[in-house]
Amino acid sequence: MEKRKTRWHIVVFLAPAVLVYSALMIFPLFGTLQLSFFDKIDQQQVFVGLDNFRTLFFNARWFDSFWNALKNNTWFFVVHMLVQNPVGVMLAAILSSKVVWFSAFFRTAFFIPTILSFVIVGFAWKLILSPIWGIAPDLLDLVGLKSLFLPYLGLEGTALTTLALISVWQFVGIPMMLIYASLLSIPEEVLEAAECDGITGFAAFWKIKLPLIWPSIGIISILTFVGNFNSFDLIYTTQGGLAGPNYSTDVLGSLLYRTFFGFQTQIGDINMGATLSVVMFGIILAGVSFYLFAIQSRMRRYQF
């Protein structure tokens, strides 16, 4: 048999994508991993093994910042899971029901916040919640709750939750659309069969549709997880690099930014920045693997 020639066109087709992707995505990840094992001593990068990780986890000052950011980030994620996803599912369920008029209009409108940049969203809410402008207190006054108004973004106790809710407001469109899509893909016959058995409306949602959309809810949860654990923009825009008040809104992304570039009192540190990136990578990888092996494999899928 004749030996096959190298099929050069395959190489030509693959090369540009593989080169760009390897050079700016895979290589930097390894580069970052490598930097985390080095430290700058006398202007020289010196191999220090796991010393940077030891510093991050056992040096009280570093560990406090890291732990604070991790805790805040976890709460940020919990708020998304508790508010964003249920609200998204509810809106999708309503939009997919046949009794709704102008459903295309509502769908388009609900997605608008999602397309805006964090800069727009951050500043817009900062202005609205600002005690100087007074829109928020005025609105609360309309419903007789003016006494509830606080400078939410300025208080240590409320700033993080407020930011999380702003982010929920922005991104609720994504779970809504994905759930909407999977609700539409449920075959008519299944719902009609349920109707014949007298299961309609709310009961049909709980008993028939919800079990069928669990896989989509799972995907949304993992997307939310990855997005939340590398969020930075919203916090930087509204609270600045110091993630105030008193670091109460610091998340891993903003801590990474400060570690890497330095901020006011602190000088930037490439090696600690790399170390923190590696730890964040580990957290995201752990979350994704947990989802893939522990949750997705146990989820029941239905084929029609």
């Binding site: 994508a17 995505m25 009794v99 509502f106 388009t108 997605f111 994905l178 825009t237 990578f281």
Partner: protein, 279 residues
């Protein structure tokens, strides 16, 4: 089939929820845009009123146009977004074609290698990316941003496009081969036009995150010449915190282009998401 009777009260309640949520979703945007057309006094006295002959003012926009180089920022954003999208689509489609069309050693492995990037945020490699850009003298150039966005957009693009390319009929390609078309011609003239809807979906998905990104412009291209609209408005608004007219107008000017893009592409975007392309 007998139509199930719906309780009119339920229908009313459902629409009430939808209207309330529409107000929640649009209120901040509307308030910002409305107030950007008012005098400073009116902004504070009646923030919720429409601008009228008395309170109408374009003072904010004048400041924005004089102080901030919004057209420059807009142009930068436009170049970065369009060029990145072009390369994501071209390189992504080429790689997707190779993976879906040819059987070769390491095909599956290559597919997996290219898919890793779907789950990993490119931001985690920032430290190294900055070093690479410094070493190659690309800091403060739009090229740096284009390269980074192309790299980060490729994994999902290849994944989606190869799914679509598997559905292109093999007979058609074989007919082309019998007619003596080269593999390149088959790709560019037969396959690419057939996957246009998928290309549009990928473009729309990548467009918004690239346009809105703050992290990489801040780190790789923060010079005045290379500021994107997102970074430009961030810096502009940060400087003018006390000039409410300017801040509100600056925000409105940042909202405007995205809204236009959204109105043009919303059908495509929503169809893309609901077709299950991202599962």
């Amino acid at each position: 089939m007998n139509k199930v009777k719906h309780n009119p009260l339920n229908i009313l309640a459902v629409h009430a929820i939808l209207v309330i949520y529409t107000v929640i979703a649009l209120f901040p945007v509307v308030v910002i845009i409305l107030n950007s057309f008012k005098t400073r006094k009116a902004i504070f006295r009646e923030p919720l009123a429409l601008p009228n002959a008395d309170s109408f003012s374009l003072a904010g926009y004048e400041t924005v146009l004089k102080q901030g180089d919004y057209f420059g920022y807009f142009q930068n954003s436009m170049i970065v977004t369009v060029v990145s999208l072009f390369f994501i689509l071209l390189f992504g489609a080429m790689a997707a074609f190779a993976l879906s069309e040819y059987r070769f050693k390491g095909n599956t492995l290559m597919g997996l290698y290219l898919a890793i990037g779907i789950m990993i945020p490119i931001r985690l490699g920032t430290v190294s990316i900055l070093q690479i850009m410094v070493a190659s003298g690309l800091v403060n150039t739009l090229t740096a941003l284009i390269l980074v966005y192309t790299a980060s957009g490729l994994p999902l693009a290849i994944f989606i496009l190869s799914e679509f390319m598997r559905q292109v009929s093999a007979d058609l390609k074989d007919a082309g081969r019998i007619d003596g078309l080269s593999e390149y011609r088959i790709f560019f003239f037969l396959v690419l036009p057939l996957v246009r809807p998928a290309l549009a979906t990928v473009a729309v998905f990548n467009m918004i995150p690239i346009w809105n990104d703050l992290w990489f412009p801040l780190i790789l291209a923060s010079g005045e010449e290379t500021k994107t609209l997102t970074l430009g408005s961030q810096v502009f608004i940060g400087q003018f915190v006390t000039d409410w007219n300017a801040v509100l107008s600056g925000l409105s000017m940042a909202i405007l282009p995205v809204m236009l893009l959204y109105i043009i592409f919303s059908k495509q975007l929503i169809r893309g998401i609901t077709s299950g392309a991202v599962k």
